[in-house]
Amino acid sequence: MKNRILYTFLSVLLFISCTEKPVIVPEFVAPISDRVILLEELTGVRCPNCPAGSLKVEDLLQLFEGQIVAMAIHGDVLSEPLDESKYDFRSADAEELEHYLLPFWGKPAAAVNRIVSDGQQAFLNPDTWSGYIEAELAKEHVLDIQLSTTYDESTRALTVNMGIIPLKDMSGTFNISLAITESHIIDAQLNSTVVIPDFEHNHVFREMLTAVPGDFLASELTKNEVINKSFSFTLPTDDDLWVAENCHVIGFVSLNEENSKEVLQAAQAEVVH
């Protein structure tokens, strides 16, 4: 009887007898694609792990050079200024945008072209963001966006021209969005258990020039039929913030359908050239 038990069990163990061929992790090479991906980082000055997320964003901008544009959204969760903070990065638009990107399980998280995976629209572990970006870059490039800005230093008036060039015929509900971000803002940030008083905040979402879910663009897009849009905005006057040289505009076209808010293409331009 003992032998029978032993032999039976050993035969089951056979399935561990083979050794597998080692997996080769290749050197990183950004995929060739004309798509530009929107990376919306959900962050906050009270978020202890968010500096790691911000650092990951910088790594990704370097790895996928020219293929992603980034916004850091200080919307609601863990975004209330610290005692040491000089600025409050929150705004009604930022809060609405953060809620628009629900569900997510915590911060730092990032939405990648607003795709949904496992029920989440923003993904928790910064290390996983590159995989989502690669998957998005592998998708078909369906439209181009040309973005140009004109800025009048004396009046602080900004004009943004956006040209949308469909590369195929498409039908659906398409929205257009335009946002302003600001970089090189030095202010406090919680990092693990300590506050970094002079943390450099980059790509901070400042304002939406369209509605937060975007403005309606079209329900039919025809190949090579260019749609031009123009937006005007006056940069607020502030002693420290809204530094025109540090601001960028980010434009993108997304779906606005019940089951998908996916971004089809994004573009970025400096406010001051």
């Binding site: 089951v12 997996v23 992790v25 202890p48 792990n49 790691a52 650092l55 496992d118 290390d127 590159s130």
Partner: protein, 553 residues
């Protein structure tokens, strides 16, 4: 390929066919149950019950499970319909909607061989290398969707083998699981025998190409020594046994997991700029050692437990976090508390680094008076304190008249680790409590609960009171309140920035008629940890009505 909806339809059809055509003259036994919850959300931004779609515009969320099982002769089959309707159960910050048949199985006994196909809940040993189970309040349902064979070698020994995929919502994860175990029973001696219930188990997870692509896409962004080589196959094995003699019972289990790539949120990684950041995927082997010793004689029960865990994060897909995709279950090492304030801070089992022990003593001094003392201590493997609890409880009762439970709980709770609140200090609590049940007559009884949680950390100190009146067997009424009696800077604030002492009330009624139970409650609930068996999650504040219907047949 069969469309999924048709697939479900065929399952129902097969079950009905087997049930109605009659495999034998035996009519078989039908049984089933319903569990349903409905939440009506009322926004209360003061307590943080806002900012999710349910409070903003959905206003209602519900979830329900209805299962049927049928047994006839050597056949056994079951099916379950699940519905989630703007439910916040999956993600407390989001709305989840889906419905359909999420669980079914067919089981057939052919002499010594038992064959199960479909979804199955099961475990090996105490679950350290494999446990497929369901925990509805935490939205855990990781049943295996596949095939299991179990063979009874003789009366005392059995062997089982299984393979399949782990359930993910209404589908499955892509990785493959397979495993086997051999379990038995031995008895030595005649008068006072020493008995053994030994077992050995093995589980293998093979990554899908999809999982491997995901892992490689992460690892190739790493530089220098951070890069590791992933493997498709990971094996976990455990050896376990219960040894019983007289009033003594010893259980031990040792488990080993071969090196695999998993996420360590505390490991340091070099970024492209050269800065070090916490959190990276590492490749290491894992171990768990667990043992419990208990002694039980009339009036006295003593249990001691000890556990050591190192790098045992075993998931069907390594990029998953929190409670998602776990293949195994590591037993918790603290008392499962039930009172509102004694259960407010509860430690989740740590998968990467934990050393824990627990001692529980129960002694009945006489028929009226008994005591329970529990001590648990949890550290990481570097001896950093994670959780400590001293719990004492006295129970005094007069037969058919009243029962009094009173006690004191002292806790140290590492909020940084358990809730990811990195800057939070260790929460220290002192919680006296009392629970008094008075039977007015055979049918009517009243129960009073009072608890006071003293703390200078987190939200500060709390006072909790509850009155519960029961008209047996049908009606029950509850009125309770949790009051933030001493606030900290985390407390809700008024327009001037001053802390507000908030009362969180609950008013509810239950009606039971046979096997049907209806409950309606108005609830305001502070943010807190919800745990079940050492698996926990942070639940946001709630404001609104909760209605539930439960039934069994």
């Amino acid at each position: 390929m069969i469309n999924f909806r048709y697939h479900n339809f065929f399952i129902v059809l097969i079950c009905l066919f087997l049930a109605t055509t009659g495999i034998s003259q035996d009519k078989g036994i039908f049984s089933g149950g319903l569990e349903s919850n409905a939440n009506f959300f009322q926004r209360d931004s003061l307590i943080g019950a806002d900012g999710i779609p349910q409070y903003d515009h959905l206003l209602f969320g519900a979830e329900a499970w209805m299962n049927l099982s049928y047994q006839i002769g050597t056949w056994n089959m079951g099916i379950r319909f699940d519905i989630f309707n703007n439910s916040n159960l999956r993600d407390p910050n989001g709305a989840y909607t889906e419905q359909g048949i999420r669980y079914w199985y067919l089981k057939k006994q052919i002499k010594n061989l038992e064959i199960t196909a479909g979804h199955m809940y099961d475990q090996i040993g105490s679950g350290i290398i494999y446990r497929a189970y369901e925990e509805r309040p935490l939205f855990i349902d990781n049943s295996l969707y596949g095939l299991k064979l179990k063979y009874d070698i003789n009366e005392d020994w059995s062997i089982k083998a299984f393979t399949g995929k782990q359930k993910n919502l209404f589908g499955t994860y892509s990785g493959i699981l397979k495993g086997a175990s051999l379990e038995g029973y031995l008895s030595l001696g005649e008068e006072k025998p020493i008995t053994f219930a030994p077992g050995i188990g093995l589980v293998n997870r093979t990554h899908s190409e999809e999982n491997m692509t995901e892992i490689v896409s992460i690892l190739k962004t790493y530089i220098g020594t951070d890069r590791v080589t992933p493997v498709y196959n990971t094996y976990a094995a455990s050896l376990f046994s219960t040894v019983s003699y007289d009033a003594w019972s010893l259980y031990f289990e040792g488990a080993y997991k071969t090196p695999e790539v998993f996420n360590d949120p505390y490991a340091l990684k070099t970024s492209l700029s050269g800065e070090l950041v916490e959190g990276k995927f590492i490749k290491k082997a894992g171990t768990v050692l667990y043992s419990s010793l208990s002694y039980g004689k009339k009036g006295l029960g003593i249990t001691g437990e000890i556990k050591r865990t190192e790098n045992f994060d075993f998931r069907t897909r390594p990029v998953l976090s929190l409670n998602h995709g776990l293949i195994n279950f590591i037993p918790p090492m603290n008392r499962i508390n039930t009172y509102r304030l004694t259960a407010r801070y509860s430690p989740a089992t740590q998968l990467l680094s934990e050393l824990a022990y627990q001692m529980d003593v129960r002694y009945a001094i006489n028929k009226r008076l008994s005591v329970n003392v529990n001590f648990s201590n949890i550290t990481d493997l570097n001896n950093k304190l994670l959780y400590r609890e001293i719990y004492t409880e006295f129970l005094l009762k007069k037969k058919r008249s009243w029962r009094l439970i009173a006690g004191l709980q002292l806790q140290s709770y590492n909020q940084q680790i358990y809730e990811g609140k990195t800057a939070a200090p260790m929460v220290q609590t002192i919680t006296p409590f009392v629970d008094f049940l008075y039977k007015l007559n055979r049918k009517n009884s009243i129960r009073l609960e009072g608890q006071y949680l003293y703390s200078k950390e987190d939200y500060g100190s709390w006072l909790y009171g509850m009155v519960e009146y029961t008209f047996a067997p049908k009606w029950g009424f509850e009125l309770s309140g949790m009051y933030n009696i001493a606030t900290t800077k985390k407390a809700p604030k008024d327009a001037n920035g001053n802390a507000i002492q908030v009362l969180y009330p609950t008013v509810g009624a239950t009606y039971t008629n046979g096997s049907n139970r209806f409950a309606l409650k108005y609830v305001k609930q502070v943010e807190g940890i919800v745990c079940s068996g050492g698996v926990c999650r942070l639940e946001p504040a709630f404001s609104g009505f909760k209605f539930s219907v439960n039934s069994s047949f």
